[in-house]
Each structure stands twice: as structure tokens, then as C-alpha cells.
Symmetry: C2
């Protein structure tokens, strides 16, 4: 058996960029991208990517070099997910919602040879480059300016123009193979900096092999049928669009690109192009709910929405589904190259009451097929927890779609891969039917009198209150119990001012959960502090909670406006 | 970037046997196998496989050793697809329709350490072992007897009993990893001997990596949704069940095992268990059509059938679909680890007339996502043919799911992998929409006056005649043109004897295709000669055709009963 050596015919690197040439050959008449009035076919997208790749090659950039991009979900942003790795270089999509200082930190760390900048972020980029000292990047980093397609505005003389480069560069024969210039599937394809709710951003390096496997298993986990019409509400920079930049090509789908994620844009594009699929963090539900009252209530078939990032409470899922969206809940990590768990629906659940269905849907589900193993382990003994829904432990994962590690950060890499697993830092339980449910990030667990309280569980109950728009629960100090839950709540904006008070919400909690898990304090805010990808910044809330005092006799009417909070929010 | 080394958390061998432990954890309450009155759950199947694997390990068999099996689609046959490769050894499922002599050739070549034999094939197996000289296998090959589950018949004292071993062996901790004892994804998982319509059987060695990728991409290509109910009409020994032994586990599906593929068994099990999926060669359509007249005409939703092996004519597809089956056409090869092309349906085709839809459905389609590249190349110049439906060439493939090679046959391995591709030996064309259509095996092309005639094209027209049940066309010698088509036809068995004559069919052909491509001779048979997996044996027909004389003036009433043919058929 060992005499059978691998050869060119049976040993081809696994990389999702193979999907591009295949799409151009298998779906030649199919629209690849729609952006406003512009439309491309798959052969056109393939051609544009080859031309841009040829230009990058002409710069003598080489394997493992980094190419960064600062752009919204426009066609160029989609194309670089192919054209950059085609050349053997590494794509670094930057979170456009970050401030100049954080982006400067990222660029200093990633050391890109080329930076693509969309015109919308040109001012931000100028600020970033002012922050970088001379010689750090200016000397060897080339900026390519992405203008609106068809625009006649020229970039400044120092900058190259994306559309101009595509027009003027011919493709090269070296790009003719299906795998282009990728020779080793374990080479890096992308570098995404994690949102960093708590610490310095870390650069997650993903391999071609990992991205390929995640893209395939996401198609299966989500049951993405052939030829989807995919609306880009999820930023492509977020975990590289959870690998759907590549999976849409694999399915011969159509990418609906939009510059800004507003209710108007979402509903307009859904109706115009008969959107079948979209992904988003639960924060987008707020946009859908606020803009959904304009009559677009039922859709047939419903738009299939894959959601992740944080656990959506059952009550929220139900509200969004009423608008004509069919939600599937997923749990993922940038470090695991996208979605790890999918809440696979079981037909027998259709016979259950609606509220029970939503509870089942709120669980994170079962592993995708590229994950070799997922487990929940006792954080101290490292033994698997029983499948009893009660015993919590840390979720750990292994598989070939897990990241290669953090760039230039051996300490964090060793730490996260300790004991032969990716240690996610998330606390969860397993149901007897094999579905996982995340209880919290280990950092967010509240330990009260020796009992673990899941902040997510408390938030779930708060969301069930009809006046609550958003809720976040963190630990606050307690003289007797060590910690106790403190809730930060944004109320719905109705025509008349809400009359809901702190005691109403605490009463609601006490009626629906054990007494010791109820918040002792409720702080009303106009807005919750969030990071660049819409994740609630619990460390900021914890800082505020630390300064609050528990007074058991005075569950009161004090309404904190959280002045410091909103300022923090706008900065991150 | 290169400093990021692979580790246990992010580098796990790709193997479809990971699907087994996952199924037992993610689908613990789901039925894995139904066989008559017996039912197993996924945890039970996992447990049974672990016990059998532990027994195999106790024999000190080791990596790359071969374990053969001679069994129909019973639970044991399904289980060995996991339990054998779990131990690092190689599964060799043998075609049970072969004669003792051919099986002896295979065993002599494969040199198995263990042979599993189902009780139905015990007499055949005894004949096989009589043919093997002493010392060839008897000395070191252990036989494990598969009795009916629950049967009290004991095997002879020399043979071990499958159910007894499972009952009596405890699993070992060495089998606790998800990938069990597989440490290199390029190690072999299976050894399947090709049907060999023309030559000695060749042993196709497939890797764990190849099987994993094929299983995943078959799920996507066929759009096999979660929790299928899969009826085993396709023999599991055929290209190892086109990888669906593994894909059903990946989807948490239920395997309906049946001992014999009869119309009664098929329709009974479809109705009893609400079958959603099945695979078969087009020869099974004959069984479906003959048994389908008993009222089971419409099914909702229809049973999804993946068919391959030979190109089903459009007319045949339509007839089968009317019985409540929804056909998808696929093209595969044992050498490519199952299905290579899938005829992906396009919604816009639903608006076309029914006959046009069936023509589109008869094409072989577009490549699966594990195939890195597929092309049609001019057999002489090796250049890609234009996508014009007219220019024929050989279909060539590359990708990591292509076999490792032929066991102990370097000559054939080098030949089939020449020029860096798997050279399939099939002649095809490409449509402008990217779909491939197979015109013929290169061996079956008829060359008449310098023109290529596809035997499949002639067969298609014959199948459109309402009296034709089966048709096969081969070359017969022609004094002027070199070769000319000769048709072998089986007529439908109706209540009254068919009056269709040779001249009727030739007239039908002349009305529907170019004159030079029409058969000059039609031979009526009771049955077409077929090999063990139901493929029509064209070499046998060519032998007969060689002896026939073309007489242009006497397209006559001669009806050959093909005495020699049926004898040949029953032997193979």
C-alpha cells in the first residue's frame, strides 16, 4: 500500500479559491455580484480577480506577505478574498468600525505590503497613517484606492486606483491553475484581528485548508442549497465573513453587496433580488425589528438567517421570525474559522408549542463536519462534563479548520492551544440530545455565594419583558456574596415614554428565575457600549458596576444615564 | 507566519470515520440502522463498531492490512465501513455477484488477513477457498461468519461468529479518539476492485482523506438534507456505496438495510419508513418500473434518487419520475471515490417543456467541490475542447479525492495518471452552461467512415420507442465504413407478445437521427449480458456483433435469441 505515492492528479491543496475558477466554468451565466446598478457574472469576477492578482504579482510581493483592506461590503471587498490569496499572500480585512489608533496598532503588527482603502474610509486611513511613525509603513506600504465603480473622481497622484488597475492589467499564465499560486494547503490565507473586548487585538491566522473545510462544512451545517442569493449584512471583515465569501462561490450563488447595513437597504434588497440567505450578529435584529414595521411582514419562502456572535434570547428569535425570517443559530469563533456549532432543526420539534421551539432554537447546537471533536470540560479537572444540562464546563474544540495561531504571539498561541484543544473561553452545558448551549464567556460568569450565575440566563429573562430592547448583565460587588448580578437595560422607544422602573424588572426576574440569580440593580441606558463588530463591551459595564453599591433595602428609582458609557461606546 | 506550527488542536487527519463518534454524540436518539424488525441507534452502532474494532486489534493485524467482506447490504456490512478502518486496516468489500473464480483472483491479490462472510454467501465462499491453493490464504486468513441477527444457527467450529464477537468483546481505550487509530489521512481506507468489463479486476486504493472529501462533497452535490432516511438499493461494495456509507452517518441519517433488491422490498420499505433518499444504477429502474404498477404512483415528497453508472436516457428518467421518484443524475468512478459530476438542477429549467427537462437531466452536470479540476481534452493534442457541445474529448479529473492508485499494479497506475490527471477513458462534451455530457467510453465509440458515433446517443433514441425496455449499441464490422452500429434490444414484456420488428426500430431511428448513425442491425434478446454490478457487458455484445453480417438489402425479420449471451450473463 505504501508504494502508492501521491501525484499531481490525486494530491491537490485544499483551498477555497478553487471555487472561483469552478464557479466561472460551472455557473457561467449566473450573476456573481449585484451592487446597486452594477452586476457581474462569475466569469467576470474570475477575470477581475485574475487581473488584480497579476498586478499584485507585478509588485514582487510573495508568499506570507500581508495585504490589508479597509472597506465595507463592496465588490472589491468580495474580490480580494480571492485575488489576494491567489497570489500566495495573506488577506487581512480590517474592522472598519475601529478607531484610527486601534487600526494603527493592527497595521504596525500585520506589516502589510499593500493596503486597499475604500473611498469612504480615506479620511480614517489618513488619520491612521499620521499615527504611524515615518518608516513604519510609509516607506514600503502601497495604498490602492477603491473608488465607486464608474466614478470619475481620481485618487490623489500618490494612490493607485482599483478599477484602473483591473482595467489596465492583463492576467498572467502563472494564474491558470485551479489552485493558482497556492502550493501548500497549510499556508495562511487570512489574518483577522479579533474584536478584543478585553485586551489587545490578536491576529488570527487561518490556513487555506482550514478555510476550505469551514466553507464546505458551513454549507452543510446551514443546508445552503444551490444558487443562493446572499445578502451581505455580515461584514466580510468579520471572521472573513464566517467563510461565506467562499461558500457563496462554491454554491454558484449571487452576492448582494451593500455599503451600509440599514433597515431601508436590507428590506429594499431583499425584495428587489429575492434574497434567500443572510448572516448577522443578533445586533442586526434590532435594525430588522425597527425597520420591519413597514408592511414587509411575511415572506415566502422566508429569508434564511444564520446568526451568531452572541446568544439571541428565545423571545428575540420569535420577534424576528414573525417578520419573515427563518433563523438558524450558530456559534463560532474567529479562531475556529467561522461557525463551529449549528442548531440543526429536528422535524419533531415542529409539533412543540412556539415558545418551546424558540427555546430549542436558542441553543447553539451540534458541531459542523470539519470539527473533529468538540467537548465541554471541567475547567479544573479537564474531564468531560455529563450531558445533564446542569454541569457547566469550558467548550473545547479540535479540528483542521482551527486557526494556525496568533501572529507573532507565541504566548497567547500556546495558552489557547493548551492540552491539545482550542480552549474557547466559553462556558457551556450539553443536553442529553447532544446539543450544546453556551452559558457565558468564562470571564462573564457571576460567582455569587459560590454559585455560578450565567449572565446570559439573566439576560434571557430580561428580554422576555415586553419593554426591553437590549440587556446586558455583569457582576457587581456584594459585601456578603462576593458578586451579584447587575443589569444594564435599554428600553424600547415607543410613542410614549416607557414607565418601566427598576423594581418592575426585578419583580419580573423574581417571578421567572431563582431569587439568587436575579439582578440586585438595574441601570437604564440610552445605548449599550459596543465594540467595532457590535459586541457588547461587558468590561466597560463591569467598570461601572464596580462603582455601584448594593442596598438591599433601597431597590430604587435611581436612573443612571451612564454618561461615561456612551462616550466609551462611540470610541470603540 | 511560518513560525506557527501545526499542533494537536488544529491538525486532525481528515477521515469519514470521525462521523461515527459525532453521530453517536449529536444524534443519540436517532435510529442509525433498520433491518427488518431490528433497529439500532447511533450510540449502539458506535458501540458495536468499537467492539468489533477491539476484536480486530486483538488479532494483531496492523496498518495497511486488508480485511475483506462478502456480504449483502446487512447491518454488519454497514458497520465494517467504520470498524475496519478505525483500526488502521483497509476495508475490501467484494462484489457478491462475482463468480468464485473471480473472487479467488481478488483474494489472491488483496491478501486479506480477515474475511467476513455473510451466511448467504457461505457456499460461494467455500467454493472460493477450494480454488485457492493451500497456503495462499487458509494458513493466515481468518473467517468471521455473519449470521442473521438473533439466529441460533451456529457457524462451524472453525468460524467465528460476528454477533458473538460483538457480544463478547469489550472496547479498548485506544479507540477513544475521534479519528480512532488513523494517524495519517493519506493512509488507505478501502480497496475496491473495479467491475472490469474488459480486463482483469484492478484494486482501487482510496485514502481516508479522499473518502472524507468525497463524502462531504456528495452531501453538497446531492443536497442531502439533515436526517435522511436512506434506502440501501445500491450495493455497499460498489465504490464503497459511493461514499454514502459515511455520508449518512455525517447527516445523522437512518440506513434502511435490505438483503435483496426486489421491487417488493423497495416499495415496502419506502412506504414503511418514509424513505427520502436512495442511490442506484439505471438497471434498478427496470425493477422500479416493473414493480411500480401496483398503485404506488405518487409520493410526496418524492424519493430522491441519485443515479449513475451509465447514462440514463431522458425517456427512462421520465418514466421513473412518474412513479414518484425525483432523479438526480451523477457520474462517478471507483477511481474518483464516487460521484464526480452532479447534474445540479436550475430553477429556470422548471419552465421548460417536460421532454426538454428530461434531456437536461440526462446530462452528467458539474463537478463536486472536492474535485479540484475537471476538463475534456482532445485525446491526441491534450488540449481542452471548446464548450460547444460538438467537440468530443476525454474527460480528465484531478483532486484530493482521486484514488491513491491500483494496488500492486504500477503499470496501470502510471497509465491512468499520465499527464497529471486521472484519465477516465470516457468521452464527453461540454455545454456552454458548463455541464458535461458523457458521450461514451472511449472503447465503445463506433467509428464509421471516419465519423465518431456515440453508442449512447443511438441508445437514447432506441429508448424513446415505447416498446423498448433495454438497449445496447456496439460496433459491428462494415465492409465499406469499417464499423457500423449494431443494436441489442430487450422488448417490454406486456400481456400480449410485442409485434415490434427490426425494421420498425431502424425506421424509428432514421426518423430521429442522422442516417449514418442508425443501427444497421437489431438483435432482440431476452436479457442483456451484465456484470456483477449490473453494467452491460459491451465486449460480449461486440463478440456477437463481430459474427453478424451487414446486408443492406435484407434488414430483416431474423430474430436472434442470443443463446450464448444469456449463459454468459448468468455467469458474470
Amino acid at each position: 500500500m505504501d508504494k502508492l505515492e501521491l501525484c499531481k492528479a490525486n494530491n491537490v491543496p485544499l483551498t477555497p479559491i478553487t471555487f472561483l475558477k469552478r464557479a466561472s466554468e460551472c455557473y457561467p451565466n449566473r450573476t456573481s455580484i449585484i451592487y446597486g446598478n452594477y452586476r457581474f457574472t462569475w466569469p467576470q469576477t474570475y477575470d477581475r480577480c485574475c487581473r488584480l492578482a497579476a498586478f499584485l504579482l507585478s509588485l514582487n510581493i510573495t508568499r506570507n506577505d500581508v495585504v490589508s483592506i479597509l472597506a465595507p461590503n463592496v465588490p472589491a471587498m468580495y474580490e480580494v478574498h480571492f485575488s489576494v490569496p491567489m497570489t500566495g499572500t495573506v488577506l487581512n480585512p480590517i474592522n472598519t468600525r475601529l478607531d484610527a489608533k486601534t487600526i494603527a496598532v493592527i497595521l504596525r503588527h500585520a506589516e502589510p505590503k499593500v493596503v486597499f482603502v475604500d473611498h469612504e474610509f480615506a479620511p480614517l486611513n489618513r488619520e491612521v497613517f499620521r499615527l504611524l511613525s515615518f518608516g513604519e509603513l510609509q516607506a514600503h506600504s502601497l495604498i490602492i484606492f477603491i473608488n465607486e465603480i464608474g466614478s470619475t473622481t481620481n485618487p490623489s497622484s500618490k494612490e493607485l486606483d482599483y478599477e484602473g488597475l483591473i482595467r489596465e492589467t492583463e492576467t498572467t499564465p502563472s494564474l491558470s491553475a485551479t489552485t493558482f499560486l497556492v502550493h501548500d494547503e497549510n499556508d495562511p490565507i487570512s489574518l483577522n484581528y479579533t474584536s478584543g473586548t478585553t485586551s489587545e487585538p490578536k491576529g488570527v491566522v487561518v490556513s487555506h485548508r482550514g478555510a476550505y473545510l469551514s466553507a464546505l462544512s458551513s454549507i452543510i451545517g446551514w443546508e445552503m442549497a444551490i444558487r443562493p442569493v446572499y445578502l451581505w449584512t455580515l461584514p466580510m471583515f468579520h471572521g472573513t465573513g464566517w467563510t461565506h465569501t467562499w461558500s457563496v462561490a462554491a454554491r454558484g450563488g449571487t452576492n448582494i453587496c451593500i455599503r451600509s447595513v440599514t433597515a431601508l437597504e436590507i428590506y429594499k434588497n431583499i425584495d428587489l433580488h429575492e434574497v434567500t440567505h443572510m448572516c448577522c450578529a443578533p445586533t442586526v435584529f434590532k435594525i430588522l425589528l425597527e425597520g420591519g414595521g413597514t408592511g414587509q411582514i411575511s415572506r415566502s419562502p422566508p429569508v434564511r438567517v444564520l446568526t451568531g456572535g452572541s446568544a439571541p434570547p428565545a423571545a428575540l428569535i420569535e420577534k424576528v421570525q414573525r417578520l419573515g425570517f427563518q433563523l438558524m443559530h450558530s456559534y463560532g469563533l474567529t479562531e475556529a474559522t467561522g461557525s463551529v456549532l449549528f442548531c440543526e432543526w429536528q422535524d419533531e420539534w415542529n409539533r412543540l408549542p412556539a415558545d418551546r421551539q424558540m427555546q430549542l432554537k436558542a441553543r447553539q447546537g451540534v458541531s459542523n463536519l470539519a470539527i473533529a471533536d468538540v467537548d465541554v470540560k471541567n475547567t479544573k479537572t479537564k474531564e468531560s462534563v455529563p450531558r445533564d444540562v446542569k454541569t457547566i464546563g469550558e467548550i473545547v474544540i479540535k479540528g483542521s479548520n482551527i486557526m494556525k495561531g496568533y501572529l507573532n504571539n507565541p504566548k497567547a498561541t500556546i495558552e489557547v492551544f493548551k492540552h491539545g484543544w482550542l480552549n474557547t473561553g466559553y462556558i457551556g452545558v450539553i443536553y442529553p440530545d447532544g446539543h450544546l448551549e453556551i452559558k457565558d464567556r468564562s470571564k462573564d460568569i457571576i460567582i455569587s455565594g459560590g454559585e455560578n450565575i450565567s449572565s446570559i440566563e439573566v439576560e434571557k429573562v430580561l428580554y422576555e419583558h415586553q419593554e426591553v430592547m437590549e440587556a446586558a448583565v455583569v457582576a457587581m460587588p456584594h459585601p456578603l456574596w462576593g458578586e451579584t448580578p447587575c443589569a444594564f437595560v435599554v428600553l424600547k422607544k415607543g410613542e410614549k415614554k416607557s414607565m418601566t422602573k427598576e423594581e418592575d424588572l426585578i419583580k419580573h426576574c423574581r417571578e421567572n428565575m431563582p431569587h439568587y440569580t436575579c439582578p440586585r440593580k438595574v441601570v437604564f441606558l440610552e445605548e449599550l457600549p459596543k465594540n467595532g463588530i457590535g459586541k457588547i463591551l461587558k468590561p466597560k459595564l463591569r467598570d461601572i458596576a464596580k462603582g455601584l453599591v448594593v442596598d438591599e433595602d433601597d431597590i430604587g428609582s435611581k436612573k443612571v444615564q451612564g454618561t461615561g458609557v456612551n462616550q466609551v461606546s462611540s470610541k470603540l
